[in-house]
Symmetry: C2
Subunit: 542 residues, 2 copies
């Protein structure tokens, strides 16, 4: 099995992506997680370019990494500058990483128009810089920027640039498709030629401007490279870099390469979500292997086929990458799908079959209004109960009032919610303040119910999403709120939809609370004996 | 130049994607737009599977399409059923489209485990169905589902299935990578073999489960197919289908094929955004060619290089696909980038240079709090004014109060906002109701300012986005609100950030209003003469 080095540049090239931003502490946590996952190299930042990256290189030295080597990225020396005096090169040394990756030009257009120097001086810049860093004791990779564009225009010069790095002692040469403009078969042809001409270890670094970064990376491996560069979730400038969450499992499971260990690939989805969180980026539900939708079946016929044989519409067992198969409820799904989902959620087989028509009708009405139960299992369970006329309201709302007030341009906004609920014949009325109106309302509702249902105290809201369904309606647009709640054992998701964000949030809050209470009641019904037995045992132990 | 047929299945396979949903009217509008763009075939839906698709086929018959042919998609007949009596096949005929696409099995695993019939009966099902539909006068495409998986397991049977369709008169055979599990070079190899063995027109239909759908489609064209199937924005089950927004420009500009006309490709981004809107899907900013970030430069060095020569980091002129180059403001950009942006936004060159340090400092402070000016030009312009101590508040806020009230579980939520502002020495106090709290607040603010600044009446909010920065904080999470406003001539974007969604919205509203007033003032200063002249002319005309 061919061993492929995995080189992660999430923290450098990835961080240049629009909408991606890591805090300094976040970079450190991501590096630790990448190490744990089994990346061979972690590029931590652009040496000397900003305070955050400098701080990262300083702090990572104090961390114990199990496997990965940290890499500082930087430029070759400036034109007509002594290498030892060049601040860029000095920053690379000052980063004190075991590995450095030096980016240099191999395309004459860049030498002429961007560096504004001569082809010959550019070769000297590469060679001087690599040699200086080798002398400083570093493992040195030469990043041949724009290699494919350069090679297609003037292959002799592109090869000269590589040769300059190799002669100066570079440990690997990374062929970069920096504009992402290279077709897959072109990558294969050019890499094959370079591999024949040179015996240095080759890497590939691809961008996604034509949607080909992953394909180009896999093709480069077939053609002879043994190092792949990319980012978690494909972050990066413009359309992003090659997504390692796609590259790694394909290398391993489809091409039989040795790279990251299987037990770590089984945590790939977790890695993807963690990095999204740390980067403040939105999870791409359609991402290959790791996306929430990657093994999700919506069409009735497909869902049916997958039930008969998972391989029929799955190229891979989702567990291998830490993902799950999901069957969705939607207008495209027939009654059998809705039934299946209802049963999966715990409704009885018989009652579901009898009420299927009512459930479908209620579902369609609500979907028409903008509800979407694909990500709101708990609200869907309550919808089933309501459609079957089995829903029990755990409380009545007498009313609530939320006030948000600001008493001057620079004064803080204050939020206060009052609520009055009735449980059986008792009234509870509470008031709560909060960081915002929904937070205040949540506090007031829990406060009012606490006396009757102490188990509500276990519930915490763990996620909150707001989407605007018809943004062109601006502030009058319909708002969809999704809330995730957890009680330490389970998590569940609920939804609310309204032109009023407070009303939408309220619906999702009520569903969340009622789902919890409903589940507790079900659990109590199912195992009354064990509860009693446990009670006796406890008494006996006293 | 090789002519490639473009077959769009956004309305069928695309609609099966999670989070994608078209209304019946929406499907019709999308079909018209796809026709205008120049798609050769538009697959409208799954014949007979649901009311929405049936309605689409009925209504599209009344529409005049300029170029595209509408296709109904459906199954081969059931096993052991007479083709003329089969309801699936009858639905295909009843759709009354000029073209039908019949999906059949070519992989024995599916024949056995999903259809639960014999290999021989499956061939008869394909052949009977194709012949019946040809006899009904249709152009017939045979969709060879799972062809690549089938071919790799038993190439003889897969070829027999194709042969059955061809002998029965199929006009084209579409080779499908239905699970998206085929590597790019495998697609090339297999397509080449089929193209050698058969003279029928071949198509390719690929899924993106390994992130290879676009690469596989382009490779299939190189290997001999002359029809590409895909969806706008890559919608589709699981990880989606081949994205036509990537495939079409690469075919045209990188592979020199003839397909959609250049003047239509120049509207590709517009098509992508339109379809996202109609599908209620979120725009992918990183989408190749059409994404908001596709030609966006964030890193200081890259931005600098692009200024010197656009080709240095752009594989294509963004205008060819209706996109734009953008330079972003961010922590990674140096002072020169911020200056550039400030000047682009209309701040003077001199004042910007002098205040660069203050601007950068203010920018970093706010970015640290969660602000992001990449999509909020108007707020960034105001930030510059504030950093240069040149900001003028057009009003003082004495205070506002927003009340949201609900008086029972099934009662509607009422929203009311009161506001008190001071302009010079005058006080205005107004109240407004709204669909939600932000809508009410917006109404109250405009009401209060109308007397002093009648031009505010021209401003409409045209877009509203809410994102939660740290969703795990749930309802106490920081909220970022982005508002787009327009006055019929310009549009501008503003931002607000706070744990309180009302406060965040308020900030964005205030920036929007002040930006408008500031611009009006600037305009008045720049052309006082023309204004006076216009005034005289008007008086003269009376």
């Amino acid at each position: 099995m061919k061993k492929i080095q995995v080189y992660d540049t999430t923290l450098r090239d990835g961080a240049q992506g629009e909408g991606v931003s890591f805090s300094a502490g976040g970079k450190l946590r991501v590096a630790q997680r990448l190490d744990e996952f089994g990346m061979d190299y972690i590029e931590g930042g652009y040496a000397g370019s900003n305070e955050k990256d400098t701080r990262f290189f300083r702090e990572i030295r104090g961390e114990h990494l199990k496997h990965a080597k940290v890499v500082a990225f930087g430029n070759t020396r400036r034109a007509r500058t002594r290498v030892a005096a060049d601040t860029w090169v000095r920053s690379l040394v000052q980063a004190q990483t075991p590995v450095v990756c030096v980016v240099g030009k191999t395309w004459l257009l860049h030498v002429r128009d961007v560096l504004r120097t001569t082809p010959r001086e550019n070769l000297a810049m590469i060679s001087d810089t690599v040699r200086f860093l080798k002398d400083a004791g570093r493992e040195v990779f030469f990043d041949a920027e724009h290699f494919f564009d350069g090679y297609r225009k003037d292959n002799a010069y592109a090869m000269d640039a590589i040769e300059a790095a190799v002669e100066a002692g570079a440990d690997a040469v990374v062929l970069c498709d920096s504009t992402g403009g290279c077709l897959t078969h072109e990558v294969g042809e050019i890499v094959r030629k370079v591999a024949q001409a040179s015996s240095v270890r080759l890497g590939f670094h691809g961008h996604n401007d034509m949607g080909l970064a992953v394909a180009n990376t896999l093709e480069a491996v077939r053609a002879g490279v043994t190092q792949v560069q990319g980012t978690v979730n494909g972050y990066g400038e413009r359309c992003g870099n090659a997504d390692l969450c796609s590259v790694v499992p394909s290398l391993r499971f489809r091409m039989g390469c040795r790279c990251v260990k299987d037990e770590q690939i089984a945590r790939l989805r977790e890695l993807s979500l963690f990095v999204d969180d740390m980067a403040n980026a939105r999870h791409d539900p359609r991402a290959p292997y790791v996306g929430r939708s990657a093994f999700t079946h919506k069409g009735g016929a497909h869902a049916d086929a997958v039930r008969k044989n998972p391989r029929s519409y799955e190229h891979l067992n989702p567990r291998l990458v830490g993902n799950d198969r999901r069957i969705l409820v939607s207008e495209l799904s027939g009654g059998s799908n809705v039934l299946l989902k209802a049963i999966e959620l715990g409704a009885g087989q018989k009652e579901s079959a009898e009420g299927a028509a009512e459930i479908l009708k209620a579902l369609k009405d609500l979907e028409h209004k903008g509800y979407s139960f694909e990500a709101a299992d708990a609200s869907f369970r309550i919808l089933i109960q309501k459609a079957l006329k089995k829903h029990k309201s755990f409380f009545d709302l007498e009313g609530f009032r939320v006030i948000v007030e600001k008493r001057g341009r620079n004064e803080p906004c204050l939020s206060e919610a009052t609520i009055k609920v009735r449980v059986k014949d008792e009234i509870a009325q509470t008031v709560a303040e909060g960081d915002g109106p929904v937070n205040a309302l949540d506090g007031a509702l829990r406060g009012a119910l606490a006396r009757f249902y102490p188990e509500i105290a276990q519930v915490a809201l763990t996620d909150f999403h707001v989407s605007i369904l018809d943004p062109e309606e601006a502030t009058a647009a319909t708002t969809r709120v999704l809330i995730e709640s957890g009680d330490g054992q389970d998590t569940w998701r609920t939804i609310g939809v309204s032109p009023n964000i407070i009303e939408a949030s309220w619906q999702a809050l009520v569903d969340s609370v009622e789902y919890k209470l409903f589940r507790e009641e079900e659990a109590a019904k199912r195992k009354p004996r064990r509860h009693k037995a446990a009670g006796r045992a406890r008494r006996g132990a006293r």
